[in-house]
């Protein structure tokens, strides 16, 4: 019941907020924040209740839903999904605080509608990470699109309609492939078991012949690659992130995109181990391309929101790389990367949002010299940026390094090439900082840019604090993640390569 209850908290919150009279905008915000914080407390209790000696699903609950098709309401978490739920539960109240005034000037949509939608989104986020019935997962996977669609389409920038529709179409097309593969998987399960099922744990026991595995794998993978997004299925993301409000972008890129990479790790590897191994070299190549493509495109952007979106495409390349090398460092690194990326990109989007809302422009060239007029805002910008380039001492460094280390043992070429990505990361972040923050401020900048407000600081400071804290005590997260990763390795049937030289007692 724990996970269902956890979903009910934001659901109740969204209904309450929605039912308020339109005039009570402030109350709507406060109630939304209250429910988001309650969800956060609940999710922390949930992760504290995990038994870290086991990598299997925990807090499992299962109820029949459509028994005729073997569909059930099955929820459960392991360390990976639990840490992603906590990460999301931290980001939602932060997005609410940061987006406190986002909806005031929306041409369509009401203030209460905005915050109600955010809470609806949170319901589906928890659902999609906790679902362990693949049909249920599919339902949440698609259902998530709608609150985001409305958040972009109603509250976004001038091109919001185009961006929202593009986002929706991409996702729906990806979803269709997934649905087709899902049904195929159901057919296979009914052939093997006599009765079809969508239950994840049962599906891992199937013995699917390699040819079928490969076909089904591709269907799922396409959907997840669009969602992640990986090059060349990425072009919806910069548009969506640029048009959405910063709070929406934070949730879209910080959380929703993780569903793609999470599902690769959580469903694809265990259910299709042979196909995963078969396609791994090709996917690793695509991941390395994504790293560089995203980074170079980020360098080439003139719009600050699009720039941040492209850095994420580069980061997703690292995440996918770590998943498909299938070593414990790669898998744990990627899982931890997903958590860190949520915080880091969230912080970047929020800070950019602060700047854009002041200046009224997303063009990088319209800034310059901000450091002089708003030094604290510039400092927060720099810290968020440094987390984005994975500065040693920050949590993002630990995860990125784990991915590279894990990759090297399996595919040295990919690892060496990917390592050079850290140079480009420094270029896109520091050049952005130079263009926006340094120099002599123009008259417009001096007039429009004010120092970061207390509310804005309250929203972004926890993210930076977490990034630095997890840089020094990453085991807080890794201890939760590692058992689940071992379980994935067991499903796939892989073990870590041994060190070339093993010296007694030198490991510790």
């Amino acid at each position: 019941m724990l996970l269902t209850t956890l979903m009910l908290i934001p659901l109740v919150g969204s209904i309450v907020v929605f039912l308020l009279p339109a005039a009570k905008a402030t109350l709507a915000k406060q109630i939304a924040l209250g429910f988001a914080l309650a969800t956060l407390v609940g999710s922390v209790l949930m992760v504290l209740g995990l038994d870290n000696s086991s990598g299997g699903l925990q807090h499992v609950e299962s109820y029949d839903w459509i028994p005729a098709f073997g569909i059930s309401w099955t929820l459960g978490v392991n360390g990976i999904s639990a840490s992603l739920i906590v990460m999301s539960a931290i980001l939602v109240p932060i997005a609410i605080i940061a987006g406190w005034w986002d909806a005031e000037n929306a041409s369509q949509g009401s203030v209460k509608g905005y915050f109600s939608l955010i809470l609806v989104l949170e319901v589906f986020i928890i659902g999609v990470f906790a679902a362990n019935d693949l049909f249920l997962f599919y339902v949440f996977f698609e259902a998530m699109l709608f609150p985001i669609y409305f958040l972009i389409g109603r509250f976004g920038g001038p091109q919001r309609a185009y961006a929202a529709m593009k986002f929706l179409l991409y996702s729906l097309v990806g979803g269709l492939f997934m649905l087709a593969a899902l049904i195929g998987l159901y057919v296979v399960s009914s052939r093997q078991l006599g009765q079809g099922t969508f239950d994840f744990q049962t599906l891992t026991t199937l013995n699917i012949d390699p040819a079928t595995q490969k076909m089904l794998f591709l269907g799922f993978f396409f959907a997840f690659a669009v969602k992640a997004p990986m090059v060349p299925f990425h072009t919806w993301l910069p548009d969506a992130a640029a048009e959405a409000t910063p709070a929406t972008s934070t949730l879209l890129v910080g959380v929703l995109d993780k569903v793609g990479t999470f599902a690769m790790l959580h469903f694809l590897l265990p259910i299709f181990p042979e196909a995963s191994k078969f396609y791994a070299p090709a996917i690793i190549t695509l991941a390395v391309i994504s790293i560089f493509y995203g980074a170079l495109l980020a360098i080439g952007q003139t719009d600050v929101m699009r720039l941040v979106a492209f850095t994420s495409i580069s980061h997703f390349g690292f995440i996918v790389l770590g998943i498909f090398v299938m070593t414990s460092q790669g898998l744990s690194g990627s899982s931890f990367y997903m958590v860190n990326h949520g915080f880091s990109t969230g912080a970047l989007f929020l800070v950019m949002g602060y700047l854009v809302s002041r200046r009224g422009s997303k063009r990088i060239a319209d800034f310059g010299g901000v450091q002089k007029v708003a030094p604290i805002l510039a400092g927060v910008f720099l810290l968020s940026g440094l987390s984005g380039l994975a500065l040693p001492g920050m949590s993002t460094f630990v995860s990125e390094f784990l991915v590279l280390t894990g990759a090297y043992a399996v595919n040295p070429t990919a690892a060496i090439i990917a390592t050079f990505g850290i140079v480009l990361a420094a270029v896109y972040i520091l050049w952005l900082y130079q263009r926006m923050m340094t120099g002599v401020p123009s008259k417009e900048v001096e007039e429009s840019i004010t120092e970061i407000s207390r509310r804005e600081l309250v929203a972004v400071a926890p993210l930076i604090a977490i990034i630095i804290a997890l840089g020094f005590v990453p085991q807080v997260a890794l201890n939760v993640i590692n058992p689940a990763v071992e379980q994935v390795q067991t499903y796939v049937g892989v073990t870590d390569p041994e060190a070339t030289v093993v010296i007694e007692g030198s490991g510790s």
């Binding site: 389409g153 529709m165 170079l296 280390t405 130079q434 085991q475 060190a499």
Partner: protein, 619 residues
């Protein structure tokens, strides 16, 4: 106890950065106190270490288990031994002096608090770098000093040249970081551990080619941090930072971290002749290149920066010679830390009295107005060109001696470097302190306040006695031997032959410069009808031109074409596809009239597709 060394300046930086304006009034005193506290603690630990027998000198402090994923086990552990303690003393000793000096130098700067916060942050990161007990934790300190360096180079952020220089330093260093990352990854994959102890114990069992690759990757890292060829170009631009920063970070401590890394990883380099040879070649090229650049600079700080490159070239070269050279690399690093910091502080003192003008052609005859600066700078000058018994003589002489023992060509390179060093330093002395006064009427050169001159005097004393103290009292070879290993070269030219030759070369270089710049008037505007070599040296030996042609311009071209490709080709293809099916744009248009209806149409289309696929699969 060891953690407190790092903790004190870290607390200082944190208080100053988070405390904001409230700490403006007393922030710099806190920073000085934290740095000085760290120095006193370091001195205490040093005395304690001296009192112990050789076997007991190495102490560790395991703080907690940092990262554990599968076999990837990284402790958050510190480690103090004979090598790290000399660094601790250098960093906190010179660091504290420069903190004190900065009280005077930055007195009128509105961002003084931020400056001292960054200085404290630097000291903390640098101490972590030399106290870490494994390569991965070292990386955190390594990048931490890089961050502090970035922040301090671009400290005058309103100046575009400063912002660019900071960014350039960071990015070039990131290329070096690729080397460090790959070295650590290779160590883990090969040995299953990245602690110094573990790698040292296991190194011999690694395959020769792997060991060589690890060594080369470490060399790449060292090239970035220590401004060695071919990653040297950032250091000259780094002079955009305030002068105390140039003294502390870009002369005495941070830029020498590459030397520390190589010596710390001696177990790797001991085993790979190829890697060592690469190190020696890099060192030899840089020592000549830096000295060459130094000969034509009119900017006093850039002249000293070229000199720093060159002197670190000596250290890298010595480290590349293996067990015969490690201790002398460190010895020269320590003496250089004192005299070069003193020279930079002297340059800062001159600038302080000259309205921040750095052009030596506008100086001249300053020995009359700035007696203390002249005296301290002069002692540093004698130390760097290697006049006995000043500090640089002892350490550089040992390197030249060892270089000759290994190879005639390398020996000659170090000898030539000594001559060129004497040339550019004499030129600097002559242009700054001698000759006729060339400054404008509204400039009133004056001596700096005591808060600045006292650190200069202390460092000048180090330039005089530091070498002798370390060699004869400290017995530096045998002090470091348990950590780095030490071997006497088998055969070399004897000292009694080499010293006179070296001194003759040095004297020749100095005399040549004196005749050109001391005896003849120096034009206020740099002459333009100069030979190719002078032009090349002024242009930093075309390092930047090369970088731009090889990386920057192709990179910009690639970025531009990819950006075009992404919006036109990839996005265009998908949009075109969508438009040809039902018209994405048309749908988007409809959306503007009423969301619900268009949305319903979309959903209907989706549902039909789903039904089709369902049918297909069922069949």
């Amino acid at each position: 106890m060891i953690a407190a060394l790092i903790g004190l300046p870290l607390v200082g930086a944190t208080v100053l950065l988070l405390g904001g304006r409230r700490t403006n009034a007393w922030g710099h005193f806190l920073a000085v106190a934290m740095s000085a506290g760290s120095f006193l603690l370091g001195a205490f630990l040093f005395i304690q270490m001296v009192g112990k027998s050789e076997e007991e000198r190495e102490v560790g402090q395991h703080l907690f288990d940092w990262i554990a994923v599968g076999a990837f086990q990284i402790p958050f552990g510190l480690h103090l031994d004979q090598l790290s303690i000399v660094f601790v003393l250098l960093i906190t000793g010179v660091g504290t002096l420069i903190h004190i000096y900065s009280i005077g130098y930055m007195e009128h700067d509105p961002n003084r608090r931020r400056f001292f916060a960054y200085l404290n942050l630097f000291v903390a990161a640098m101490l972590l770098l030399v106290l870490a007990d494994n390569y991965f934790l070292l990386y955190v300190g390594w990048e931490g000093v890089g961050l502090a360096s970035y922040l301090l180079i671009s400290f005058y952020q309103q100046k575009p040249s400063a912002a660019t220089a900071g960014k350039k330093a960071f990015i070039v260093n990131r290329v070096g970081d690729v080397g460090l990352s790959l070295a650590i990854i290779l160590m883990f994959v090969t040995f299953g551990t990245v602690t110094f102890e573990g790698v040292n114990a296991a190194a011999e069992s690694g395959s020769p080619s792997t060991i060589t690759w690890i060594g080369l990757a470490l060399l790449l890292a060292a090239c970035g941090k220590s401004a060695q060829f071919p990653l040297q170009s950032w250091l000259l631009d780094a002079m955009e930072g305030p002068t105390p920063v140039s003294a502390l970070i870009h002369a005495a401590t941070m830029v020498t971290a590459g030397v520390y890394l190589i010596v710390r990883a001696h177990a790797i380099f001991d085993l790979s002749e190829t890697a060592r040879t690469a190190v020696v070649i890099v060192g030899a090229i840089t020592l000549l290149l830096g000295a060459f650049i130094g000969t034509a600079k009119d900017d006093i700080k850039k002249g000293l920066a070229g000199s720093t490159m060159s002197q670190i070239g000596y250290m890298v070269l010595a480290a590349g010679l293996g067990p015969v050279g490690y201790v002398f690399a460190i010895f020269h690093l320590l003496t250089h830390g004192m005299f070069k910091a003193g020279l930079f502080l002297g340059a800062g003192s001159v600038m302080h009295g000259m309205h921040d003008d750095v052009n030596m052609r506008h100086y001249g005859a300053l020995r009359i107005m700035m007696k203390i600066t002249y005296a301290t700078f002069g002692l540093g000058f004698l130390a760097i060109i290697g006049v006995p018994p000043f500090a640089g003589f002892w350490s550089k002489d040992e390197i030249i001696y060892v270089a000759f023992s290994q190879s005639l060509i390398i020996g000659l390179a170090t000898l030539l470097g000594a001559g060129v060093t004497a040339f550019y330093m004499t030129r600097m002395m002559a242009m700054t302190f001698f000759g006729e006064a060339r400054w404008e009427d509204d400039v009133h050169p004056h001596e700096s306040p005591a808060v600045m001159t006292i650190p200069m005097i202390v460092l000048a004393l180090g330039s005089v006695f530091g070498g002798m103290a370390m060699l004869f009292v400290g017995d530096i070879e045998h002090w470091l031997e348990p950590v780095t290993g030490f071997a006497k070269p088998e055969h070399s030219v004897s000292h009694s032959v080499l010293i006179p030759i070296t001194l003759a070369v040095v004297l020749g270089g100095a005399l040549f410069a004196w005749l050109r710049y001391g005896r003849r008037p120096v034009p206020v505007v740099a002459p333009t009808d100069v030979r190719f070599l002078t032009r090349a040296a002024r242009a930093d030996a075309y390092g930047d031109a090369l970088n731009e042609a090889a990386f920057m311009r192709p990179g910009q071209y690639l970025t531009r074409s990819l950006t075009w490709f992404d919006s036109k080709a990839i996005d265009g293809l998908v949009s075109g596809l969508a438009a040809s099916i039902g018209g994405l744009s048309a749908r988007a248009q409809r959306l503007q009239n009423g969301y619900a209806r268009s949305y319903a149409v979309t959903m209907l289309g989706g549902a039909v597709l789903i039904a089709l696929i369902l049918l297909l699969v069922r069949l």
